[in-house]
């Protein structure tokens, strides 16, 4: 595979973040609304600026898919780092990245439905709003699966491709990504879906994680030694043939 395609896959992680946050601003998800808002206030929110909001929703949907090539290239790196004939951590990463796409898709559709009929009963719009916000903030497994798969992959690597601090960084990110997981228990305070810890801390670290991983993928593509995708051994061959 050409370096150009690999580099495109590497930057797609950064591109995801650079589309995600502007799209959230367009929709009005950033800064997040309070869960304490009444049904009428929520309906009022979704019935103003509908054109811009819907455009933002379309953009958010487009952004979500960018995680797939990015995660696939990470999975290849995990395979190259591993010693065994099979690469369970790489598969874990692939599952994580697939779920991460869904983690954006699912709330996007709920937000789309909320903005779709401004004239409807506010109670229904509020339910759709909750159905968007709760998975958007609570859904930690996709991110944690990826962070831990990468973290353990790097810390247990037999072929060093990435620096070890990146492994510790990923484990730390995995811990931060848990912050939103209890959002359903709170309607205000720092652990609510608009809270300092559940939203702001997790969002900042989430963005940072994509930028740092994109950068490290880019560096690994540019590195001269056997880092090209073709250096991963097919699973029906012994791993000892891996060029090292």
């Amino acid at each position: 595979m050409t370096q150009g395609i690999q580099k495109t896959m590497a930057v797609s992680g950064a591109a995801f973040v650079l589309l995600l946050f502007p799209a959230m601003i367009m929709i009005g998800l950033l800064p997040p609304m309070s869960p304490m808002r009444t049904a009428n206030e929520v309906a009022q929110f979704w019935s103003t600026n509908t054109g811009l909001k819907r455009l933002g929703i379309v953009l958010l949907l487009a952004a979500s898919g960018l995680q797939a090539p990015f995660g696939a290239l990470i999975a290849i790196r995990l395979r190259q780092m591993g010693a065994g004939r099979y690469s369970p951590l790489a598969y874990t990463e692939l599952v994580g990245t697939g779920l991460a796409v869904v983690a954006i898709l699912m709330p996007t559709f709920a937000f789309a439905a909320a903005s779709y009929r401004p004239e409807r009963d506010p109670q229904i719009t509020q339910a759709l709003n909750d159905l968007g916000w709760l998975p958007f903030i609570m859904n930690w497994p996709p991110a944690v699966i990826q962070a831990l798969a990468i973290g353990f992959g790097i810390l247990g690597a037999t072929h060093e491709i990435w620096p070890r601090w990146l492994g510790y960084f990923n484990v730390w990110c995995g811990f931060i990504f848990l912050a939103g997981g209890l959002a359903v228990l709170f309607k205000n305070g720092v652990f609510a879906w608009n809270g300092l810890l559940a939203f702001w801390l997790a969002a900042v670290v989430f963005g940072l994680w994509f930028l740092i991983m994109s950068w490290q993928l880019w560096v690994s593509v540019a590195a001269p030694e056997g880092n090209s995708v073709s250096s991963a051994v097919p699973e029906n061959e012994p791993r000892s043939q891996l060029r090292q």
Binding site: L155, E160, P163, W165, Y168, L185, V190, L201
Partner: protein, 200 residues
């Protein structure tokens, strides 16, 4: 898990006065984690400043004695791990695993005391939803408890590593790294203890 040494990392014997303790990468985790906990403490103090009367009332419901026992347990545990790491770095790793096992028991004691304390609070109808003070208390001590459990897994791993026949600089460095994590868990608890149990 095979841990490889970075070629650029200074060896344990090369320049003992100047090298970074443990593996360099662990400090990314430790400093990151401590930054997040600093944010926790700041938000707690901010909310407390806004709602002083409620926080003071709920604070009276906590058992300071149980918190104190836990502080003593974790501090002793850290001391035992320090002694163990000292032995390991001094090349006398043979007797170190018993010290770490002692530290592990203290850590397990911490978990048991926490379980008793939480059971009592739950029985008194206090939960994560019982006001701001208790939501902070359960969330922060819960997140810390998760760190303790991970720490116990790390200490168990160190015992296994030390008891193995092969013991090189690499394993010594691993012990030091694990020790650093455990001391961080201890340090965070000391601040949590002061914040929740002592500050009036």
């Amino acid at each position: 898990m095979t841990l490889i040494r970075q070629s650029g990392a200074p060896g344990t014997s090369a320049d003992p006065g100047r090298r970074v303790p443990g593996e360099e990468g662990i400090w990314v985790f430790v400093l990151g984690d401590m930054t997040v906990f600093a944010l926790f403490f700041a938000t707690f103090m901010y909310s407390r400043g806004k709602n002083h009367a409620v926080f003071a009332r709920d604070h009276a419901e906590l058992h300071v004695s149980l918190g104190t026992v836990n502080t003593v347990l974790l501090l002793s545990s850290s001391l035992l791990v320090v002694l163990a790491v000292q032995r390991v770095l001094g090349g006398r790793h043979a007797g170190a695993w018993q010290l770490i096992a002692g530290g592990l028991c203290c850590g397990a004691g911490f978990v048991a005391v926490k379980a008793v304390e939480w059971t009592q609070l739950f029985a008194a109808r206090k939960g994560v939803g019982s006001g701001e003070f208790f939501s902070y208390y359960f969330m922060f001590t819960g997140i810390h408890l998760m760190h303790v459990l991970i720490g116990l897994a790390v200490l168990s791993r160190l015992i296994v590593v030390i008891r193995r026949a092969e013991f090189t600089d690499k394993q010594a460095r691993l012990c030091e790294t694990g020790g650093i994590f455990w001391h961080m868990v201890d340090l965070l608890w000391v601040v949590l203890f002061a914040l929740f149990y002592l500050v009036r």
